[in-house]
């Protein structure tokens, strides 16, 4: 009997990856391709959707070749994708209309401000489970329709389609299936997060024609069969990347939480079939839905800038030549020397949601070296995690006792120790850092019966590393107070025009 495998496509913010997994959930091969980041103006961040699709077409054979397997050995394909990034295309020829506008893009700043003032705004937020912010797709879609002459009419006629990245990939993979999954749809502000369908009221609030939207499907269940890139392979699942990571960490039970450390960092807590609403800046979002079952929900704390602060340190300041060197540099000093960096590059996300905030470096003296700055860069990720965990504990009434972590930054031992120290709870890393891809693979494999059930997936989860808190409580509280004072200094920097 030839062995079969599951393939995941992880369409991320900076790159797209194709990963082949075996039945134990272990990585067999990986192929990765970065795509260009377009910054046409300050605050604008765009991707070329056509380039991303070309990358998927190129990566597919590469990943299979490296694994030494054929298409007939692929049981299913799962997709995890950067969320909220929005792309429009022509229904007839599939050509993208403009570039995809990413989740980091803040061009809808003024629009969001204006929308907040409208009387229906609170209802829209309540229905979506999200606060009005530049982060989500709805305002972005309205902005594109407002700024492209004739586009709204074409969209009303059904000539123009829109979607998040999984919608774009499935359209191309299947040659014209226009669908999204509930987790991605829950990040648009257009979905009624309880009924799990588009809300007519929210659509009219943003002035978005329903004809351009994809059909909403459960995350886990066969979407269709690919005709391109992986011809003949069933697409078993699609999930937003953070929801995929929650699934990959096998957080299937209410109360289980994970934090993924990547470009941004995202802490998600499974709240079961109950939608839990937040009064302190957390998002109510869909965790996953298996076809034929009720949806599982999650509370999410989103941090915009973590790994991307390290990238900024590398690419813009050029103080290190590769991201892992941040740890080497940070270890040249014993502490931050009194220096704090608050990376509010595109405002602050959870728990503040202040889009007018901008980044600061405070506590600079002539004593500060690049080593101290490197430490402050890593500490920024640790303290931002602490703020989100505090909000989550207050909101859910539960106290986090251990945090499951994953993502590329878990390779940074100093950072992981810092996070354990400031949270005062142990951090555990599972035996699979690539949980985003793994979650997409698990979901797809579950849909086609490659894995029998959730318990079968749970048995694959093992601890690969653990960091125990070891910080003096007095130091912890003093440092936390300093961090909070630094955060306050970012507020109200951008003034309304």
């Amino acid at each position: 009997m030839t062995e079969s495998f599951v393939v995941a496509i992880d369409q991320g913010t900076t790159s797209t990856r194709c990963i082949v997994f075996d039945r134990r959930g272990q990585l067999v091969s990986l192929a990765q391709q970065e795509h260009k980041q377009h910054f046409p103006r300050p605050g604008w961040v765009e991707h070329d959707a056509a380039e991303i699709w070309r990358n998927v077409e190129r990566l597919a054979p590469r990943a299979l070749r490296r694994a030494g397997i054929g298409l007939d050995q692929v049981a299913a394909l799962g997709i995890a994708n950067q969320r909220e990034t929005t792309v429009l295309w022509d229904r007839r020829n599939g050509t993208p209309i403009g570039r995809a506008i990413t989740w980091q893009d803040t061009r809808t700043d003024a629009l969001v401000h204006e929308l907040e003032g409208r009387p229906e705004a609170k209802e829209v937020e309540h229905r979506a489970g999200l606060p009005l912010a530049t982060y989500f797709s709805g305002p972005r879609l309205q902005w594109i329709l407002d700024h492209t002459p004739g586009l709204r009419e074409r969209a009303e006629r059904g000539d123009v389609l829109c979607g998040t990245m999984e919608t774009w990939l499935i359209w191309n993979l299947t040659g014209g299936l226009h669908v999204t999954d509930v987790t991605n749809a829950s990040r648009t502000m257009l979905l009624d997060v309880r009924s799990l369908d588009w809300s007519e009221e929210s659509l009219s609030f943003f002035g978005i024609p329903r004809a351009m939207l994809p059909e909403v499907r459960p995350s886990i269940g066969v979407f269709g069969t690919a005709t391109a890139a992986f011809p003949g392979v069933r697409i078993g699942a699609a999930l937003g990347d953070q929801q995929a990571a929650l699934f990959g960490q096998t957080c299937f039970t209410p109360g289980e939480a994970k934090c993924t450390y990547g470009t941004g960092s995202f802490l998600l807590l499974n709240t079961g079939n109950e939608l839990v609403r937040s009064d302190n800046g957390l998002l109510s979002t869909v965790a996953y839905q298996i076809a034929g079952e009720p949806a599982a929900y999650a509370l999410e704390g989103s941090i915009a800038i973590t790994g991307s602060l390290v990238q900024w340190f590398r690419d813009q300041l050029e103080l290190i030549s590769s991201a892992p060197e941040i740890e080497t540099l940070a270890r040249t000093v014993a502490d931050n020397g009194g220096c704090y960096i608050v990376p509010a590059f595109s405002g602050l996300y959870a728990p503040y949601w202040r889009s007018e905030a901008r980044g600061v470096i405070v506590g600079l003296t002539s004593y500060i070296t690049k080593g101290h700055l490197a430490r402050a860069v890593l500490e920024a990720t640790a303290w931002q995690t602490r703020e989100v965990v505090d909000a989550m504990n207050a909101n859910s009434g539960l106290t986090l006792t251990t945090l499951k972590v994953d993502g590329g930054m878990t390779a940074d031992n100093l950072l992981m120790q810092m996070i354990a120290d400031v949270l005062d709870v142990p951090l555990v890393r599972p035996l699979a850092v690539e949980t985003v891809s793994l979650g997409a693979a698990y979901a797809a494999g579950l849909a086609v019966g490659y894995w029998p059930d959730l318990d079968g997936l749970r048995r694959n989860w093992h601890i690969a590393g653990q960091w125990m808190p070891a910080m003096d409580p007095v130091v912890r509280s003093a440092e936390y107070a300093n961090w909070r004072r630094a955060v306050e200094r970012t507020f109200d920097w951008i003034q309304p025009a």
Partner: protein
């Protein structure tokens, strides 16, 4: 001139020109200065760029000496970079072998543990990243010793089985070079055994070692030889990391 390699001489000449110049130089300037065809010069520059000895300015397309030249005398690969690049392959090794995985590199005559993956049985274990192990008494260390100029120093005995005779150690290292992997059976800790293989970077240079360790009865057969299956897993993982680091391109 028999016994010399022309392209290396040319590469050296290019580096000298770049080092002697006022700043960046263009392709045609370099080709002209050495009286070489542009295509040949470009090929050499591209290779020097891949190994980090030359950098090309993104805007002007001109060349300058690369950062890697400055670090030639010191460590070739940042240890945190090594961990970051190997983490994806260390996990599957732990999953397949069922044993703890460690990655090591040389620091001041000892093995520095740069990455550690727990044995995947969910028992309580402690990360020992940063720990220092003896070179001559561990599988990781023997791999690292086998591929560098060998200096016989104080060979401390940890157990009755530790190799303490310089001649015996030299023979063991010769064996490592022949087979491409090293073993350790109760030479460092009683009851413990280990298998390790080299991680190679550009040009095949050994930059670290990856290995598994565990109780002798799980690692070895009845003749105290490591199970072939485990050796294969370790060597596959070492090759996968090496491929990611650019070895054998």
């Amino acid at each position: 001139m028999p016994g010399t390699v022309q392209s290396i001489e040319r590469a050296a000449a290019i580096l000298r020109i770049l080092a002697g110049g006022p700043g960046r130089l263009g392709l045609s300037e370099i080709a002209r200065a050495l009286d070489l065809a542009k295509g040949t010069t470009h090929g050499i520059l591209r290779t020097l760029q891949v190994v980090g000895f030359v950098e090309q300015d993104r805007v002007s397309g001109q060349y300058q000496l690369g950062g890697a030249l400055l670090h030639l005398g010191t460590s070739y690969l940042d240890i945190n970079e090594l961990r970051s690049r190997s983490i994806n392959w260390a996990d599957p090794l732990a999953a397949r072998s069922g044993e703890a995985v460690r990655i090591g590199t040389v620091l001041e005559g000892r093995v520095l543990v740069v990455h550690h993956v727990f044995r995947p049985d969910d028992t309580f274990q402690t990360l020992d990243v940063g720990a220092l192990l003896p070179l001559h008494a561990t599988a990781l260390g023997k791999v690292l010793l086998a591929y560098r100029p060998f200096v016989s120093s104080d060979l401390e005995a940890y157990t009755r089985l530790t190799i303490v005779e310089p001649k015996a150690l030299a023979a063991a290292l010769e064996g490592v070079r022949e087979t491409g992997w090293a073993t350790e059976v109760e030479e460092f800790l009683l009851g413990q055994a280990a298998v390790a293989a080299p991680i190679r970077g550009y040009g095949g240079l050994v930059v670290g070692a990856i290995g598994i360790s565990g109780p002798v009865e799980r690692i070895c057969d009845s003749r105290y030889r490591p199970h072939q299956r485990l050796v294969t897993y370790v060597r596959d993982a070492a090759r996968a990391v090496s491929r990611d680091l650019g070895a054998a391109r």
